[in-house]
């Protein structure tokens, strides 16, 4: 691969257009990528990043436009085809077989000839490991691996297949800041070894740090390609959104005193007896936003669901105004005057009924308030229409199944309903996931308004930068343990990262 000429782009896309029914996902996109270069593909959710990369990976075929690899036009029919052209995709969700070793996963699906596995596979993996400094234990089973080790295996997997053009889809979403640094080092090293790398992300800080050039997509079009060193985060945001935006989040002064919720020694086990939360103790005050940081699967889900009464803890207490609410059903928790607005992680699976329209979804928690056997939809319809206006929800109508709405709009339906119920406490998990920047700020504002009204907000987040700006305090969870509760103003991203990672190491040590 070193012999290929540097001046011919490894990949060049010209005028790529892809439509789905009436929706234009990609329109006339141009992009080029040289070997020895890291290109960041930046764009909001729904801007067409994933569609474009799926075209390169052979999952979709473009309606118009051409794909050139090393200067030659090609048609990529399938993911196999993509690999033949040297394109390897590393998906956000790992596609590994848990019970197999790293080596078994790496060779999985390769089309080497012969009946028996070749001994040489071990050497080849070792060579690749050393060349790209991707160090893993080849005999370790995937289920024993940390997230970043799994990612390393994924990268080795595509390299083993001979890919030298790598596409990484939001690779840092599941990593701690420290693991991210390690990944970036690997990527830089690969770049220096002549690989061409596309990294898809919406985190501006990472774009500035890792990429050589940035291509910005907006509403399915490639609006600009700039050299990273000639730009800055603000300029990139403006390109991405299409207008100037204020990038700071308000943190209004706390106006309320007093304690709302106390959690004591909360321990939750799953059906296999594995502790998902252990000995969690904290308190939430009125008019406070308490952020909960941690890697995915650190017990956030269990924490939310326990407070909402959906799962029973093994031990511990949840005191709301000094009354223990453990053991009460969700309906009772709503009834005794606690209006806990819980926005679950899994929106369509838990917060909403996908086939029903907005009106019927508004009814979900309130349908039983009136007496009588029949439903009254009038109020709910008014509420739905109010939300469509207030939060600018894009839907053909209040009766359209929410399943057909885009992720961001589904999010607004859910959050809107919860805030409309005038809660005393709001639990929200990843409330801006899938939202564009403007909508995200609408949501932050809405949450701040709740805070000013005296509502206690438990904010389960993933973007540390946002949490540092928005939250009053941040609690870090890892492996189901609280590894720290800090004032947001007095801490740094690195400090939070250490707390997140510290617990990860402890967790591994136990296994």
């Amino acid at each position: 691969m070193e012999n290929k000429r540097q001046d011919i782009p490894a990949i060049e896309l010209r005028g790529i257009t892809k439509r789905f029914e009436s929706v234009v996902a990609n329109h006339n996109i141009n992009l080029s990528l040289k070997r020895g270069e890291i290109l960041a593909l930046l764009g909001e959710n729904g801007s067409g990043k994933t569609t474009l990369m799926n075209i390169l990976a052979g999952i979709y075929k473009p309606d118009e436009g051409s794909v050139m690899i090393d200067g030659e036009p090609v048609t990529i029919h399938s993911p196999e085809d993509a690999i033949r052209h040297g394109i390897g995709m590393i998906h956000q969700h790992f596609k590994l077989v848990d019970v197999h070793t790293a080596t078994d996963n790496i060779i999985l699906g390769t089309k080497d000839t012969g009946f028996f596995l070749k001994k040489s596979r071990h050497n080849k993996i070792k060579e690749l490991s050393e060349q790209y400094r991707l160090f893993i234990d080849p005999n370790k089973k995937v289920y024993n691996m940390s997230v970043s080790e799994k990612q390393t295996v994924e990268i080795l997997k595509v390299l083993y297949r001979g890919a030298d053009i790598l596409i990484l889809d939001e690779p840092t979403a599941v990593l701690t800041p420290q693991e991210t640094q390690k990944l970036f080092e690997i990527l830089r090293h690969m770049r220096d070894n002549g690989c061409a790398i596309i990294i898809i992300t919406h985190k501006l800080g990472e774009v500035m740090e890792i990429s050589d050039r940035v291509t910005v997509l907006r509403k399915g079009e490639s609006v600009a390609t700039v050299n990273t060193k000639d730009t800055n985060a603000k300029a990139l945001t403006e390109l991405m959104v299409g207008k100037a935006v204020e990038l700071s989040i308000d943190r209004p002064q706390r106006k309320h005193d007093g304690n709302l919720l106390e959690i004591h020694h909360l321990t939750v086990s799953d059906e296999n007896g594995v502790d998902k939360l252990s000995d969690v103790t904290f308190e939430l005050n009125k008019g406070e936003i308490l952020g909960v940081a941690g890697l995915a699967g650190s017990g956030q889900k269990e924490l939310c669901e326990t407070i909402a009464g959906l799962i029973k803890p093994r031990k511990g207490a949840v005191l709301y105004h000094e009354e223990n609410i453990i053991g009460k059903t969700p309906a009772e928790i709503i009834k005794i005057g606690i209006s806990m607005s819980f926005i679950p992680e899994d929106r369509l699976g838990m917060g909403l009924a996908a086939s029903l329209g907005m009106t019927d979804n508004m009814l979900l928690k309130s349908y039983n308030k009136d007496k009588g056997a029949f439903l009254s939809r009038k109020e709910a319809r008014r509420q739905a229409e109010g939300l469509i206006d207030k939060l600018e929800i894009v839907t053909p109508g209040a009766e359209t199944p929410v399943r057909r709405l885009s992720g961001g709009n589904v999010q607004k339906v859910l959050l809107g309903r919860e805030i409309d119920s005038n809660p005393n406490m709001l639990i929200t998990a990843y409330p801006v996931r899938g939202l564009d920047i403007n909508s995200s700020y609408t949501i932050y504002d809405a949450i701040n308004k709740q805070k000013e009204k005296g509502v206690g907000v438990l904010f389960i987040g993933e973007d540390l930068d946002v949490m540092l700006e928005l939250c009053d305090r941040i609690m870090v969870l890892c492996g189901g343990r609280v590894t720290g509760i800090v004032n947001a103003e007095e801490t740094t991203k690195e400090a939070l990262g250490l707390m997140m990672a510290d617990a990860v190491k402890k967790g591994e040590g136990e296994q």
Binding site: E21, K61, H77, L310, L348, A353, L364, Y367, F374
Partner: protein
């Protein structure tokens, strides 16, 4: 296309169709099914038009034929409504057969042993007994599912056989008609325990039509109906909204079974005037097809029930008119149903052939 990396045919999900388009698709499916059925008739060397005509005439040619058609339709419609309730909740009740039988058994007890009661009181008691019998048979799998997470499909299926063998036992044992010499059967109901006729057909059809409206209103406008829909969408969402999922599942399955029980009661006291093994006769399974084809809409269920009843009634006439084997009409019915269900696939998916330019 030089490379062959792309498969010959791919299946892709379509964007959702609106209600109107869906109805159109169902109609199209019906037409294609009739056409394919026609091809089958052609291979037998018969004229498809003549055969279809005789099926149609067979179902409608005389008041008697028409009454026969409706008699087939009544239990089918009632049990498809019962299944609609369960399926709306995504509780895969394939035990309608057993629930019909249990309804029949409970109702027959009063017809056989308490037929001295005043006529309408007796019928009312039989109706309620039928509902309780069917309802309990529906409640059992619901209880075990919400309590122990058992699989409702297997459970309801197995309960069918228990119900069926219970009739056999009763026929040969405790309820055997002493007047029937040698041949084990249950006595014919006295006139007092027979369902009255309205416009020449037993009153089951009125009950069925009332149930159509009831199920429609229940699902669409009541709180309980709303709960069923939400549980069907996602049990987690239901729990999150504070609903008691087990209670809803058990209540709905009792209701579903009870409606099947009504079908059993009307069959015993309106059609057969006795209780026999053939009381359900596969209706509980055909009803699943009706409920599915009508997309759980009670009014569409009326149309599909009529279609299937005409096919069934007319086929028996057709096979004697054309001198065909009894199995031919079964095969024809099978082909038609198969094609309708096959076309249903294309309401959700489409095929993409290799190299096809996609301009959709």
């Amino acid at each position: 296309m030089k490379r062959s990396g792309e498969p010959l045919i791919r299946v892709a999900k379509k964007t959702e169709l609106s209600g109107g388009r869906l109805a159109l698709f169902s109609l199209l499916g019906l037409c294609i099914a009739i056409f394919v059925g026609g091809l089958f008739i052609l291979t037998l060397g018969k004229n498809p038009f003549a055969v279809y005509q005789s099926i149609f005439m067979g179902a409608f040619r005389s008041p008697l034929a028409f009454q026969g058609t409706i008699k087939i339709a009544i239990p089918l419609l009632i049990s498809s409504l019962a299944i609609t309730l369960a399926f709306k909740m995504k509780f895969w009740n394939i035990g309608a057969e057993g629930q019909i039988i249990m309804g029949g058994i409970f109702a027959s007890y009063f017809a056989l042993f308490h037929d001295g009661l005043p006529h309408f009181l007796l019928l009312l008691i039989m109706l309620i007994a039928g509902m309780i019998g069917g309802g309990l048979w529906g409640l059992i799998p619901a209880f075990f599912k919400s309590r122990f997470g058992t699989n409702e499909t297997l459970f309801t299926l197995m309960l069918n056989y228990i119900a069926l063998y219970l009739i056999k036992y009763l026929t040969e044992g405790p309820w055997r008609d002493p007047a029937s010499s040698g041949f084990p059967k249950i006595a014919t109901f006295t006139a007092n325990a027979q369902l009255d006729k309205i416009l020449g057909i037993h009153a089951g059809w009125v009950i069925a039509l009332i149930l159509v409206v009831f199920v429609f209103v229940y699902l669409k406008y009541t709180k309980q109906g709303y709960e069923i829909t939400v549980v069907g969408e996602s049990e987690n969402t239901a729990r999150y909204a504070g609903m008691n999922v087990s209670k809803i599942v058990m209540r709905t399955m009792f209701l579903s079974g009870a409606i099947c029980g009504i079908a059993g009661m009307t069959q015993a006291s309106g059609a057969a005037y006795t209780l026999s093994e053939g009381i359900a006769g596969g209706v509980g399974f055909t009803a699943i097809i009706v409920a599915w084809l009508s997309r759980l809409n009670p009014f569409l269920a009326v149309i599909f029930t009529l279609f299937l009843s005409v096919l069934q009634k007319g086929s028996s006439v057709m096979q004697s008119a054309f001198g065909l084997s009894t199995y031919v009409s079964d095969v024809l019915e099978g082909i038609i149903l198969f094609v309708i269900l096959g076309v249903d696939f294309f309401t959700q998916y489409k095929l993409i052939f290799r190299g096809a330019q996609k301009h959709d």
